[in-house]
């Protein structure tokens, strides 16, 4: 910690340390609930509390039994398989449609751009329970309720706004003369898209995709409405686990999901840095 310069007044000193304390408290408030569950997931007992043995750092008090339960229990494995099927499928749809929508909406000649954008973003703003209930009624009519396709489409609708927002942000910095140059050099629009535009906006597309993936992977409300027992996902199983069994296996799953999220966010950050490096093109 850097020493304060000699001319600081008492008031400035007090504020300096108060400010650091507030920041520390905010970070603690955000992180603590997540950190607390990680040691608990290694609990040797079937409780949600820290046992005296754990606090004494006794190796006997720790075990991997909840992780073993997660990997051996057919309910959890089925939920895991469902999540791993639904989330990637929903992500693919979100990324494909969201990227195309963002590119289309960034063209100045498209009419009603703002209105279309607002409609596409709305699943992010409308309370989830309303979207979910709406989807339930709509999907029941068209026969999608209780199918994988229904859940995937529902999650895709939730993920599209993230893709649109991140890709639109990337496109703001996109130099239109690059596509003009490509046209001048005889590339058709499809070639231009895949060879010129896509590589440059890829970081935005991927981070949008990661958000869409996490949205689907964490989502419980829509899947409760639109899915049936056959489409039970991890969050749904955790929800049941909390409500009916209070099994510490949830903690093991939560830890696994936290680790997964950290890995994904690290990927996003690395991609952002790569994109900034590429942006270093500005002439002069």
């Amino acid at each position: 910690m850097a020493a304060l310069p000699p001319y600081t007044t008492l008031g400035q000193r007090i504020w300096h340390y108060t400010f650091r304390t507030i920041v520390g408290l905010v970070l603690f408030f955000l992180i603590a609930p997540i950190l607390v569950i990680i040691p608990l997931s290694f609990n040797a007992e079937n409780f949600f509390t820290y046992t005296p043995g754990m606090l004494a750092l006794d190796s006997e008090a720790y075990s991997l039994k909840h992780y073993r339960d997660f990997f051996n229990n057919s309910d959890w494995q089925q939920a895991m398989r469902n999540s791993l099927m639904i989330a990637p499928a929903a992500t693919l749809i979100s990324v494909g449609l969201g990227t195309l929508a963002a590119i289309g909406l960034s063209q100045s000649h498209v009419p009603f751009r703002r209105a279309i954008m607002a409609i596409l973003i709305s699943p992010m703003i409308v309370p989830l329970i309303i979207s979910a209930a709406g989807m339930y009624f709509f999907y029941s009519r068209v026969g999608l309720q209780g199918t994988y396709l229904g859940v995937v489409l529902g999650h895709a609708a939730l993920g599209i706004p993230f893709v649109i927002i991140t890709v639109t942000a990337t496109l703001v910095g996109f130099d239109r003369s690059l596509t003009r140059a490509a046209a001048n050099m005889g590339a058709n629009p499809v070639t231009t898209f895949f060879r010129v535009q896509m590589p440059l906006i890829l970081p935005g597309v991927i981070s949008g995709g990661l958000f869409a993936f996490i949205t689907s992977f964490d989502e419980v409300v829509v899947v409760l409405f639109v899915g049936s027992a056959g489409q039970k996902t991890l969050p749904w199983q955790m929800f049941i686990g909390l409500r009916e069994q209070i099994s510490p296996t949830i903690l093991a799953v939560a830890t696994i999901l936290v680790a997964l999220s950290i890995m994904l966010l690290t990927t996003v950050e690395l991609l952002r840095r790569r994109s900034e490096r590429l942006r270093g093109i500005s002439p002069g």
């Binding site: 046209a183 590429l278 270093g280 002439p283």
Partner: protein, 343 residues
């Protein structure tokens, strides 16, 4: 083969805004044409219409006696160099230069041969495997030109290619461009807002203002005989002094002229066609700008202000009273709309 003809070309945007109106001119094969004008005069729009990147709403563009209105940009045998170079940041210099050729489906050995030749030509050989972000401004500019050269087009289009460079590099690349034009023998169309670039590069200049062509001619034609007060004030630094005919200065100049056209609006005179004499029009020096080889002298004649160009070593200061002599035939006459009138 690569002569170009624009016939009453116009561009009106969807909102009804007209960017270019009724532009007609012809460009001979191998000519270096510069489109010049202030920002927003339609010169870049014109260039993009020739390139096919912008739709033409009126008239006809012909390249080599073939109308290209409906022809794809890539099929016009035109290469364009963009103001910000438009290099692909994710490709190496080699990849950038190969891009257009690969789109044409050219076999790899030929692509490599052309890149090698262009790289030697532009002294880019050491940089072929670098990304554009690792190059200096001048080098990026050369890569952009290399990307155009490898395609061996019949027409090169340049959209303010030097405007992002510093003054010294600009002067150097200007000379290189002129040299490049000589060596390639292709038709060059070059857009700039810098009249010095236009004067030094062009075989002929097309000067535009507010979507219209003001005048077409060789640099010296435009300089000596501007078609309007706009051209007179745009070409030359410092520009031609354009004085309202009602002012004291204009009356004093006209009093010395034998034949004066009627219905005058303005009188013009180039700064270097005036000098300090023993007798002439009385004036007061308001500011002296010594520039080394020459000195710019700001004058006041009654209520009118003008600039005179003088040699170095002027021993006068602001406030001095002088007499201004005018060379014979130096005056240019303009009507009330700013159009040229001949005596």
């Amino acid at each position: 083969m690569a002569n170009l003809k624009l016939d009453r070309v116009g561009k009106t945007y969807a909102g009804g805004v007209s960017a270019v109106e009724n532009a007609s001119f012809e460009i001979a094969d191998g000519e270096f044409i510069v489109l010049v004008g202030p920002s927003g005069c339609g010169k870049s729009t014109m260039l993009r219409m020739i390139a096919g990147l912008e739709e033409i709403t009126d008239g006809d563009v012909q390249i080599g006696d073939r109308s290209v209105n409906g022809v794809e940009p890539g099929d016009r045998n035109i290469a364009m160099v963009f103001q910000n170079y438009a290099l692909y940041p994710h490709m190496t210099v080699r990849g950038n230069m190969a891009y257009g050729l690969r789109n044409q489906g050219m076999p790899k050995p030929e692509v490599e041969a052309r890149i090698a030749e262009a790289a030697r030509f532009l002294q880019l050989e050491p940089y072929l495997d670098r990304k554009p972000s690792a190059l200096s401004g001048g080098q990026r500019q050369r890569v952009a030109m290399g990307r155009a050269i490898v395609r061996e087009p019949s027409v090169f289009l340049f959209d303010e290619p030097l405007s992002n460079l510093d003054a010294k590099l600009r002067t150097q690349l200007r000379a290189e461009l002129k040299d490049l034009h000589k060596r390639l023998g292709a038709t060059f169309i070059y857009v700039t807002h810098d009249q010095i670039e236009a004067m030094s590069l062009a075989d002929r200049i097309v000067i535009m203002s507010a979507g219209r062509i003001e005048q077409i001619g060789t640099p010296m034609e435009l300089y000596a005989n501007p078609a309007s007060t706009f051209v007179a004030e745009f070409i030359g630094a410092p520009p031609m002094n354009v004085l309202p005919v009602t002012g004291e200065a204009a009356r004093a100049f006209l009093a010395q002229e034998a034949r004066v056209p009627d219905d005058l609006g303005h009188v013009g005179i180039r700064p270097e066609l005036m000098s300090i004499g023993d007798n002439g029009i009385p004036a007061t020096i308001t500011l002296v700008e010594p520039l080394g080889a020459e000195t710019l002298v700001h004058l006041k004649m009654g209520a009118d202000k003008l600039i005179m160009r003088s040699g170095h070593g002027l021993a006068l200061d602001a406030g001095a009273e002088i007499k201004v002599a005018v060379e014979a035939g130096a005056l240019r006459f303009f009507d009330r709309d700013g159009r040229t009138r001949s005596a």
